[in-house]
Symmetry: C2
Subunit: 341 residues, 2 copies
């Protein structure tokens, strides 16, 4: 198939630092090429891909401009003016992407992945866009959270499993990865780890102002020698943290559409102790690749049981459900479904 | 002609309070109906128009959501899905409007009015959009400020002249209307009025946070009994302020694409003392409907000369160049130009 993949404008593909969507887009574009498709990636300059690259923006906008819709508009409009001859367009851009996609009126069909959570605003907008583009959810939880739009399918995000070394031999230490905000529960992670009597290594994203404030007012006062903080680590350092830990503690309290860090932990053979929010029940198999518990008491208790779980089961689940290859196969099915005879 | 007019989503048409674009859109849609066209206005609920009204949003978004692109996207996409059968679309919406317009690929042709100033971001975006939509400038100054895009024409904003009572009998008082920010020069207006020995009545918009801060730190300390402040006045009170003043002092210092308040003052027979920035040289005829001077000293001096000007000349200039009817005629010409035989 001739496939056009449209990335967001804000970061290169793959991203050099933060950029969850750009990472998924990179794996997908490369994976589609590996599967024999003719792929063109529309992404900002500085991107590296096995696909043919077209960059309306010679470099990504200044990071302070992230969210400035003029850039989004320029990038998406420039890309969508070049869609003649493609069999399908796969859009990952913000608001302007699905709008341009809808305006193509099916020539060619447009698949759009819902990377974000449902809000009153996105429900309104996608309620309209869903009549003209093929929406893909990234978890059943995300899909259940809005049953008022049509979905072309559910495709889990995937990772490049080979980049995550499996490690069965664990240290008596917990790991946490996430933004510094109330939804992700870094404060709760500290309290739970401490009550479980285990030291905690935290990779905490706190680059944005609200994250810095939450860190300063809510997290920092709790720190002492049993908590080790990391920020801006290399990928090697990250997988080392993930692989050595006897468990990831991830006490989220919001309907996260897909928790990629849980998949990363399991790939390294590390079970995940989390809640039942959002996609967690789809990602973590309770009692096999981690524990899902509601309430801090039960999470503390679950941490005492993680040594009973087999790291190999964690890895196997990721290989089966959350690899780049399974993501590519999922999207191939969605694309095929758009080809109405 | 069958004409679709697309308003921004944020306020009803006409606006109940602030909303410069919505006021222009209202006059234009009504004027096009009066001129015999078949007009459909796409605008948020609560709008009142002589045209047929279609409201994707049953009411405008909460004012705190102004600028939230999901609403812009919903409104514009909903509107542009209904453009079959129109001879021309006239777009006034933000970023998503011209994007949808470009995606129509000329079926029907889309005219987009540039209501804002040129910035690095708008130059980039419209550089692309101009290849697919017909851009209209609202002044020659705006057009000169970016000669890298093609224009379908220049059409000045118009006012409903009949709503501005002419008054030849003036009081010894100045008037200022504008936002409280450095570009608009409220601080300079106070200093210049005071040096000219004339009291000043200021209609100051300061609803947004930066406007409030500028007022508090820069304007408020200058106030004394010779300055009278107004906010949120009725239209009757506004034209009363405009008509009684012997001059409007409007010391702008930014390239404003079109200074509508200067037109409103002149309609009431009130000359305008301003700078040479932006559209001022097109709006104010120096020595006839006001004075244009650079530098506070010369502005003070000019205020001493305003009694030599004829209020009837001010009114006549507005009737000739800045009426709703002349705006409608200007756009009719632009629409005709899009009809390639």
């Amino acid at each position: 198939m001739r496939i056009a993949v449209v990335a967001p404008v804000w970061f290169p593909v793959p991203p050099s630092g933060y950029g969850g969507i750009e990472l998924i887009v990179s794996l997908l574009a490369d994976g589609l090429v590996d599967a024999g498709h003719d792929v063109t990636l529309f992404a900002s300059g500085g991107s590296h891909t096995k696909a043919e690259l077209i960059s309306p923006m010679p470099e990504p906008p200044d990071p302070r401009e992230v969210g400035n819709a003029w850039y989004d508009g320029y990038h998406a409009l420039s890309a969508y003016m070049q869609m003649d001859g493609f069999d399908v367009v796969h859009d990952h851009a913000g608001i302007v992407g699905p709008i341009c996609g809808a305006m193509l009126m099916g020539r060619p069909p447009v698949v759009h992945t819902l990377h974000g959570p449902w809000t009153p605003q996105t429900r309104l907008f996608y309620g309209r866009a869903a009549q003209h583009v093929h929406l893909v959810a990234i978890s059943e939880a995300q899909r259940r959270d809005n049953e008022d739009v049509a979905y072309a399918g559910t495709v889990y995000n995937g990772i490049h499993v080979e980049s995550y070394p499996f490690r069965a031999d664990k240290d008596d230490v917990l790991v946490y990865i996430g933004r510094s905000n109330p939804d992700k529960g870094p404060k709760e992670a500290i309290n739970i780890a401490r009550r479980a009597g285990l030291p905690l290594q935290m990779l905490l994203k706190r680059g944005e102002q609200p994250e810095r404030e939450y860190f300063e007012h809510e997290v920092e006062p709790l720190l002492s020698s049993d908590i080790e903080l990391f920020e801006n680590v290399t990928n090697e350092e990250k997988v080392e943290l993930l692989g050595r830990a006897c468990a990831m503690i991830f006490p989220i309290r919001w309907p996260e559409p897909f928790g990629l860090v849980m998949v990363e932990a399991m790939a390294c053979g590390t079970p995940v102790v989390t809640t039942n929010w959002g996609s967690a029940p789809e990602v973590v198999e309770d009692g096999v690749t981690g524990f899902r518990r509601d309430g801090d008491d039960d999470l503390v208790h679950a941490l005492g049981e993680v040594r009973t779980l087999d790291p190999a089961d964690c890895r196997a689940r990721v290989e089966r459900l959350f690899s780049a290859q399974s993501m590519v196969r999922g999207y191939e099915q969605v694309y095929a479904g758009t080809m109405v005879p």
